[in-house]
């Protein structure tokens, strides 16, 4: 059930009223669990079984890690992680396995190819793993503080953690040590309305006005349609897609953050002006923060991080990024996308040891431009999972100089990208007097955004990150 559907608005309104009514004050978590299950089952009722299975695995294993025999803690934790990853692999990567290793007409391949991809599986699997590792390692919090002694209470809390609808199908990926301590009774009077309003309005604006309008142009980045477009048009399409993917996902995350606030919960920010980054390292600290911090805490550091020498550091970076790429989708192009980013991070790290550039504005600008262009071209691997189409697109950029530029398309892309560009530029400039003025009249941009949501939304499209 997407956030931009009417069914969702009805569900939200009903849930909100019940949640804060005095009759349900003691069953608030249950109310949200029921609403979340309805939210998830709306598209495909059968797949609810997988969500419940995942929750059951994480409930029992996390409970056993904390209250079971201490000698078996490690074994139970590892088993739990393996079961989570096995379920993810089976549902998400069987198709890739079948296409790569089996003949398409074999019965096994047919079976594997037809396995449905449960929406949100990549997100709730990682959340389950976060719970198991947090209670096993106890790096961030004492396990007994988040795992209730009563198994029923623990089951309720864990199911809530995994299924809470704002983050269920496209994140942000929650970490158990951040979320569990927040579970408790919430009061209507404590809602931070202004903060929730700002997140929700900005989120819907980014999704419905920016991303959904850009989508109507960037759909031309499909073979063979792009073959007939000029070089300038192809470059602006790519630029538009870069802005679209940001607006789509950052929009979703902001809506999720705002909705969680309505119910008294805080999610971590998921984007922090990623396109102003002047290095790849910085980009990954600003883009999809909940995933990059997850990969850092639960994969890169356990692999040894940068503590085992240079070569091992580069290797760890590559492994983390390739797996991070594959997390996005079951196609080799995603692994290549991860490899490309991993290589950029490794090369940048190697160079930064040898070259020490003075922090000058012009140098920072050139670095920022380079990172943006690199990241933007790498998005082609997201949009065109077939490699041959990626090379054809790049070839078309090089050869279609004779064709006339589609001014309508280029201008439209510029117009619909401008809010995101402005958003980044204003943050980058940060002139104190302007910041003060904007803060004083902050209701104006929010009023304008709301007006544009009502009058200027593009045709409704599903969120890009749903496929992951």
């Amino acid at each position: 059930m997407p956030f931009n559907s009417f069914a969702f608005l009805y569900l939200l309104a009903v849930t909100f009223v019940i949640y804060y009514s005095k009759w349900f004050a003691k069953a608030q978590v249950v109310v949200l669990i029921v609403a979340s299950l309805v939210f998830y089952a709306h598209e495909n009722f059968v797949l609810l079984a997988l969500l419940l299975f995942s929750a059951a695995v994480n409930i029992t294993t996390s409970y056993r890690i904390v209250y079971g025999d201490p000698k078996h803690r490690r074994l139970i934790a590892v088993t739990g992680v393996v079961v989570n990853l096995a379920a993810l692999s089976f549902f998400k990567y069987s198709r890739l396995f079948a296409h790569t290793l089996l003949s398409d007409d074999s019965s096994i391949a047919e079976f594997l190819i037809n396995i449905p991809l449960p929406i949100g599986i990549s997100f709730f699997t990682f959340e389950g793993i976060s719970l198991l590792i947090d209670v096993w390692k106890e790096r961030h919090i004492e396990a007994k503080k988040i795992i209730a002694l009563s198994i029923l209470e623990h089951a309720r809390n864990t199911l809530f953690f995994i299924s809470f609808f704002p983050h269920l199908i496209a994140g942000p990926i929650l970490k158990a040590h951040d979320f569990f301590p927040q579970i408790g009774t919430k009061y209507f009077k404590n809602i931070n309305w202004e903060s929730a309003f700002k997140s929700i309005v900005t989120g819907y604006f980014l999704k419905m006005v920016v991303a959904d309008n850009l989508k109507n142009f960037t759909f031309w980045i499909v073979y063979p349609f792009f073959e007939g477009q000029s070089t300038a048009t192809l470059i602006s399409l790519l630029f538009g897609y870069s802005i679209q993917i940001f607006a789509d996902f950052a929009g979703y995350s902001l809506i999720a953050i705002g909705l969680a606030k309505l119910f008294g919960y805080q999610f971590q920010d998921n984007f922090n002006f990623p396109y102003i980054s002047t290095s790849f390292r910085e980009f990954w600290k600003r883009w999809h923060i909940s995933l990059s911090t997850f990969l850092m805490e639960y994969l890169y550091f356990p692999l040894g991080g940068n503590r085992k020498g240079k070569i091992r550091t580069y290797f760890n970076l590559m492994v983390t990024m390739i797996l991070g790429g594959l997390w996005h989708g079951a196609a080799w192009s995603y692994a290549v996308w991860g490899f490309v980013h991993g290589s950029a991070l490794a090369v940048e790290r190697a160079l930064s040891d040898k070259i020490n550039l003075k922090p000058r504005k012009l140098i920072s600008f050139i670095q920022g431009l380079f990172v943006f262009l690199f990241v933007t071209f790498a998005w082609l691997l997201f949009k065109l999972p077939d490699f041959s189409h990626v090379t054809k697109y790049i070839n078309a950029i090089a050869t279609n100089t004779d064709l006339e530029t589609n001014t309508v398309m280029v201008v439209s892309i510029l117009i619909y990208s401008s809010p995101v560009v402005l958003y980044h530029v204003l943050y980058l400039m940060r002139v104190p007097t302007v910041v003060k003025l904007v803060q004083r009249v902050s209701y104006v941009p929010y009023g304008v955004m709301l007006f544009l949501i009502v009058t200027n939304s593009g045709s409704s499209g599903s969120f890009i990150y749903f496929q992951f």
């Binding site: 073959e227 279609n400 304008v448």
Partner: protein, 288 residues
Amino acid sequence: MIKKALLVTVVLLIAQSLFFMTIAKRSKITRHQWQYNNLIAQNFLYGADTFQNVIVGSSLSQRLPEAELPEFYNLSFAGLSCLDGLELLTYKAYLPRRVFIETNFFTRPKDESFTETLEAPLLFYPRKYVPGLREGRQPMDWVAIALDRVCDRINIALRDPNVQVSIDTSSATAKRRFDAGFNVLVDRYSKPPVRDILDKTSSELKTYVDKLTAKGVEVIFFELPVNPKLCNAPFATSTRQAIESMFPADHYKIIGMPDCSAYHTSDGIHLTENEVPAYIKYFRQNAF
């Protein structure tokens, strides 16, 4: 802060509505095919009560200009099929005298999200009474139009009047570009439609047609000419056979496809602008 923001929104909405109710009453702009689809659909839903003939179909029929078919309302949608047009016709409960159904791509499943956003009560009624909310009135597109004009002026100013801009359509690069698209079509036409989809869309089409004919509407089927290499390819023949078996010629009027080799298309399936008048002449001769 929230109240003030809402107030700004309301003021802007009122200003925009007044603008479109007074100064730019008839102005509507579209910048891509999906917007154009919405515009056609909304113009039909909120008006178009006088047309006796309605055409439903895909982008192939959308190229038949209303100027040359003034007594027709062309409810065809690029990227969609006749089923979407029939859905809107049913939703509006409008009964023209004749409905012309383009069958080339009737096997393209109905786009539920397209019709749902047009029919959802939460959107339908506000748009009905506040014309500023309808397609073609998006404020950012109006800004884009202004920027288009600036770009055009710059282009004209920069263009050397002594240099004629021409695209060599016979070059190897041009051939590569055409072949890229055409080969995809040849591949698509080389297989009949997927059985399940054919059955589902056939059943939906039959339901719509039965409803219309039961209410006295005459239903006429037609198929637009495509590239001769595609004309009798498995996809086209299967689609044709499905129509002929569902709607036998002794009960329904079918405007057969003319000789494909007599027409030129821009990409294999869409008639070029120059060919449209010839087809319209053929269409008129057989329609009534």
